[in-house]
């Protein structure tokens, strides 16, 4: 299939309508500490959150976080403001198997975990009780990887955005064997492909393409990219300078619309939820249409009914965000 046809495939994945959706918001849970991951459990519809600063993964039941996996390692992200973090991206391989990207260890020691989640009512397990845990250690002229920020699951792999080696901007790939991880390797050198740093948000399109959001430099606004790759061979299909600043999450609604959240580090008052649409004057151009402001959004996931769950760091007293985090539910999106 030639390049133009691939572009057509890719562009079909962006909204053909320029209408911005009308959305409604609900705070599902609050008092979280720098939540950085969210996933909806298949079959049950339960929402899980990486309550990162509290070093645990929780299940939200009646608006309250219940501990599921605890005792992750801790680290600090940023040099001012600073954010305490632990577990980052989370995603379900199946109803009972949760993959968690670590954020609390040094690069090279950071782990990607697979857990069998305890059922509702069962006691929490510890991070050390993972079914499997893998790292990307340094090698000859290869730097160790860390900050496994977000995860995207396909039929046969888990793709992980990594923020260790800033000369490469790796998206790594893990394969599974039952409820365990079988392998974990560096896969896409996104910075070499697009010359912009920091792959963070990642998702899989309805057609099975990997869609990666490059955050770029946190000190530079509007340098974010959205890039489409073919997962079986890593070939880049299309790259859009989307005009967002710091993409922290990407997700497709069940209706096939692509959404992004922007942390907008340089000026967090401009952060928010965006629908990514095709420019009405140039079909080869994609642009963001703001749906809503959000206070430092970090992760997003749709459920099967089209409800969007978003975690936000929120604002506390000064730079203290230890209880300011929220899980939001957004309905009415296309």
């Amino acid at each position: 299939m030639n390049k133009i046809k691939w572009m057509g495939v890719v562009l079909a994945l962006l909204v053909s309508s320029t209408c911005v959706t009308a959305a409604e918001f609900e705070v599902v849970s609050e008092g979280l500490y720098n939540p950085c991951g969210v996933a909806v459990q298949p079959e049950t519809g339960h929402v899980f959150v990486a309550d990162s600063g509290n070093l645990k993964v929780v299940r939200i039941v009646d608006g309250k976080p219940q501990d599921v996996i605890v005792d992750f390692g801790t680290d600090v992200y940023g040099k001012g403001p600073k954010y305490q973090v632990g577990p980052l991206g989370i995603a379900f391989l199946d109803t009972n198997t949760l993959v968690v990207g670590g954020g609390g260890s040094p690069d090279g020691e950071e782990k990607l975990y697979a857990f069998t989640v305890p059922a509702v009512g069962e006691p929490a397990i510890k991070a050390s009780e993972a079914n499997s845990a893998m790292n990307l250690a340094p090698g000859d002229e290869i730097k160790g990887e860390g900050n496994f920020y977000a995860l995207a699951v396909t039929n046969d792999a888990v793709y992980v955005t990594c923020n260790g080696d800033d000369t490469k901007g790796w998206v790594s790939k893990a394969t599974r064997d039952g409820n365990k991880l079988a392998s974990f390797e560096r896969y896409l050198a996104t910075k070499e492909a697009v010359e912009v740093d920091a792959p963070v948000g990642i998702t899989v399109s309805p057609d099975g393409h990997l869609v990666v959001g490059q955050m770029g430099e946190i000190t530079v606004p509007e340098d974010g990219l959205v890039t489409f790759y073919r997962p079986n061979d890593g070939k880049m299909l299309a790259n859009f300078p989307i005009g967002l600043s710091d993409i922290t999450g990407l997700a497709y609604s069940p209706g096939g619309q692509l959404y992004a959240i922007d942390f907008c580090w340089n000026d967090t008052t401009k952060g928010g939820l965006f629908q990514l649409i095709r420019d009405e004057n140039d079909a080869a151009v994609a642009k963001p249409q703001k749906v809503s402001e959000l206070d430092k959004p970090t992760a997003m996931a749709f459920d099967a009914e089209g409800n969007l769950y978003v975690t936000v760091v929120g604002s506390g007293e000064g730079e203290d965000t230890s209880a300011a985090g929220k899980l939001l539910k957004i309905t009415g999106l296309k």
Partner: protein, 336 residues
């Protein structure tokens, strides 16, 4: 009928003639560089670039008629200054080293602390600065309007008399044409395997690998356009806080804009304070892991480069990033 027809033809010819003078300049960028974005409200034309060049080299834009943009951003010195700190109209050294304007059109921000969001905005800053060119803009526009050569050019290019805004636009337009590319690195990347010497090839590998340079000096212009604290000057009693003075974020303390490395061999001395005389000094700074401080960028760490690796890296910078067609510009005839 004949007279009316002739009048119509005359109007058409006049319109065509006018359009030709305003024809947009199709700027051909050197190999290795991406197309340059030109702001919609300041399109490039030949006449505007020429006007901007004259303004750039004209010391009459300063309060004492002795300092021009080129005084501190000199084409003979990589469009930067060979002094660590330039000297302005009052005769005192400035606070920071004058950065190169090479490829400045690709930069997201201007000045070391990024306080200007465009070349147009930046151009007017030094003119007004009491420490630099020390010229009030109202005084300047009156001065230039009194020079027929400038007044006529501004009329032709902008359709107005000399204004401060259009001074900035003209200078910015000229600066957008100061481009460096088509270096040995670009030719090697395009397939010419003989373009880089063996030492430069080893240096290239280090640049994109062990030496971690491309963590920040990335992309076709060798800059991520971001701000980083690499520790330079942070150990002074009153360090220059750089970007923090603009962003007000504590994490930006001591951070400065990543400069381009195109033609870097010509732009010594280096760093925001001009404190490093040679590229060897620069490599040494990075090899030892910068100067530790609470905001030191996570990409700065001890590299433990060998002496040979340091030489190879310097060779790559000198040989690999030197433009085959360095943008040298001679001082133009200035209008009277």
């Amino acid at each position: 009928m004949f007279n009316r027809g002739f009048a119509v033809l005359a109007v058409v010819l006049l319109a065509v003639g006018t359009l030709s003078a305003e024809e947009i300049l199709d700027l051909k960028v050197p190999a290795g560089l991406k197309p340059l974005k030109i702001p919609a409200d300041n399109p490039l034309t030949e006449a505007k670039v020429e006007l901007g060049k004259q303004l750039y080299f004209d010391p009459r834009l300063s309060g004492n008629n002795e300092v021009s943009c080129a005084s501190c951003h000199d084409p003979k010195h990589g469009w930067a200054d060979s002094k660590d700190r330039s000297v302005g109209v009052p005769g005192e050294r400035l606070g920071r080293h004058s950065p190169t304007i090479i490829n400045a059109g690709y930069q997201r921000f201007q000045f070391w602390d990024g306080r200007a969001g465009s070349l147009e905005e930046q151009a007017l800053g030094p003119i007004q600065s009491p420490a630099e060119m020390n010229m009030n803009l109202d005084t300047l526009t009156k001065k230039l309007n009194a020079i027929p050569g400038y007044r006529n050019q501004f009329k032709q290019v902008f359709g107005t008399e000399v204004t401060a805004e259009n001074i900035g636009k003209a200078i910015a337009s000229f600066e957008r044409t100061v481009l460096s590319g088509n270096a040995a690195y670009d030719r090697y990347k395009a397939g010419d395997e003989a373009a880089l010497s063996e030492g430069a090839l080893r240096g290239r590998k280090l640049f994109f690998g062990k030496a971690n340079c491309s963590a920040c000096h990335a992309g076709s212009n060798f800059t991520d356009n971001g701000f980083h604290n690499i520790g330079v000057g942070i150990d002074l009693a009153e360090p220059d806080v750089g970007r923090q003075s603009i962003s007000k974020l504590s994490g930006d303390r001591g951070s400065f804009k990543t400069p381009t490395l195109r033609d870097v061999d010509r732009t010594a001395p280096y760093m925001h304070d001009g404190s490093m005389a040679t590229l060897e000094d620069v490599i040494e700074h990075y090899s030892k892991g910068g100067i530790d401080n609470p905001q030191l960028d996570e990409e700065i760490f001890k590299l433990d480069l060998t002496d040979q690796e340091k030489k190879d890296l310097v060779l790559f910078l000198k040989e690999g990033l030197a433009s085959q067609n360095y943008p040298m510009v001679e001082v133009p005839t200035l209008p009277e």
